[in-house]
């Protein structure tokens, strides 16, 4: 376990000393800030929107966090591509393979390092609606549910990207393929709208459907379990893939 933390620490450090992480956070913040302002103006203009059923936290939280998932879908592959593909290309992966650590330690360590980045992104996303605290009353539960949903969503994105990153030695290929994979799982939602026998299954497997509830402030353990299982599955597949590579 201490090895996982050692690897996670180094991974997080490497993410945050690289300009990529900061560029991603800056762009994320810029675009979400733009959306945020837009939402505020909308809300203020149409004063009839605020009533007993739709508070400012509902409106801002769900609008902003709904949009954030799309953005995160675009940027997570950029961060996950470095995890294995880039290391393999530069040869530095040998350091981990020759060290007395198991493949599970390596995968979990790298994933936890990435989680540190996710938490930084989450902090920025939390601060925006929280800044409204000074002018109005907020429903913190709703915002917390939305943030938890976002974190779970990012973990799912991250684990899938991590797995794809173990498949290739070209970072760009890793980025493109993980983007495609995430979008495909995302778009399963479309299939669920069609009228055929398996439609509910596709609806259940889609990444988006489980976020809807949390975005609205509904904490459902089955949604949480979905994301955690999704993450665990891809991390396990990454371990299997790395094991195959040595043989």
């Amino acid at each position: 376990m201490s090895m996982v933390l050692t690897i996670a620490g180094a991974e997080a450090r490497r993410i945050f000393v690289s300009p990529l992480a900061w560029a991603v956070l800056a762009v994320l913040q810029l675009i979400l800030g733009f959306v945020f302002i837009n939402l505020i103006i909308d809300y203020v203009r149409s004063s009839q929107m605020g009533n007993d059923y739709l508070g400012v936290a509902d409106y801002m939280g769900s609008g902003l966090y709904g949009f954030a998932t799309v953005l995160l879908l675009l940027v997570m592959p950029l961060l996950t591509m470095r995890l294995f593909a880039e290391e393999r290309k530069s040869g530095s992966i040998t350091l981990l393979f020759a060290a007395p650590v198991s493949l599970l330690d390596i995968v979990l360590g790298k994933f936890l390092g990435l989680v540190a980045f996710m938490l930084a992104a989450l902090l920025l996303l939390a601060l925006m609606p929280l800044s409204l605290m000074f002018g109005t009353h907020l429903d913190f539960g709703r915002i917390a549910a939305g943030l938890l949903g976002l974190l779970l969503m990012m973990m799912a994105f991250g684990s899938a990207g991590l797995f794809v990153s173990t498949l290739t030695r070209e970072p760009t290929i890793a980025a493109v393929v993980s983007f495609g994979l995430l979008l495909a799982v995302w778009l399963l939602q479309i299939l669920s709208n069609q009228d055929f026998a398996l439609a509910p299954l596709f609806g259940y497997l889609s990444l988006t459907s489980h976020f809807e509830g949390m975005r609205r402030g509904v904490f459902d353990t089955s949604d949480v379990a979905y994301y955690l299982l999704f993450t665990a599955l891809f991390l396990w597949m990454a371990v299997q893939r790395l094991d195959l590579e040595r043989v």
Partner: protein, 324 residues
Amino acid sequence: MENAEILIEARGLSRRYGPRFAVNDLNLTLRKGEILGLLGPNGAGKSTTMKMLAGCLAPSSGEVFIKGISLSENATLAKRHLGYLPEQPPVYPELTVDEYLRYCAGLHGVPAGERAAALLKAKQSCGLVEVAGRLIGNLSKGYQQRVGLAQAIIHQPPVVILDEPTVGLDPIQIREIRALIKQLGQSHSVILSSHILPEIQAVCSRVVIVNKGRMVYSEPLDTVAAQGVVAVIAGFRKAPEAGQLEAIAGVGGVSALPGSALLRIAIEAGADPREAIVEASVRGGWGLYELRTEGKGLEEIFVELTSGDIAIHDTVAATLPEAA
């Protein structure tokens, strides 16, 4: 040396890519205090062998034991005793030397309290003290190579595997690194590969030559040296008749060395007529200006074993039944 602890043992190590054998039935035993030089032409299987010994590549068949621990069954425990510098130093360009080495120490299980001391020792050994705070990506190739080397020895492993450790270094650094390897060899065992024959001769106690994935030679370097003098090359201002030289005891035959004015004087087995030649030259006024021995050195052995078609036919024959 014979009864020292066995640190690395490889039995019947093979690695194949499709029908082609990169390494074929290689056996190695390395005892404590030995420095083993792995020699071979490009593509002979040196790096593949080292990857397998370091546990970065699983062999197709055969097994590796490190300090008696099987690398396939108990990889994590076995790798504790291992330091490995691959062909490309496994460094992170975005970290400083200190950050990187501290991470490596942690990764190799150096206790937190001893990390600072381990870091300092590795930096001193590899001459990295003055660049400790710089980003690895900004260092020259030679310094990156040294960082890679420091990484391999920071946890003081009993077995150190170095894949071409002196590539990209300047002559002074090469001398320093060679001295370091020799020093390591006293308390650890070291396997290193190199293209540079004098380097192997300077530091290794044993040499293994691989060609086309097979081990073709494995002898202590003492044996190489003892194969001894087979001829003397001599240069005379006023060259004597061949008969006059052949009259000296121990001289087997005289021939002109192609392309030069020097003479090659073959020596009868066990004899050493060099002093007699000098005396004869002084007496006869032949004007001896050069006298050196021609041994069957590492280079001759290497060229003999790795060039020519014999070895290729041999390997093709060996792989055919497998391919069929």
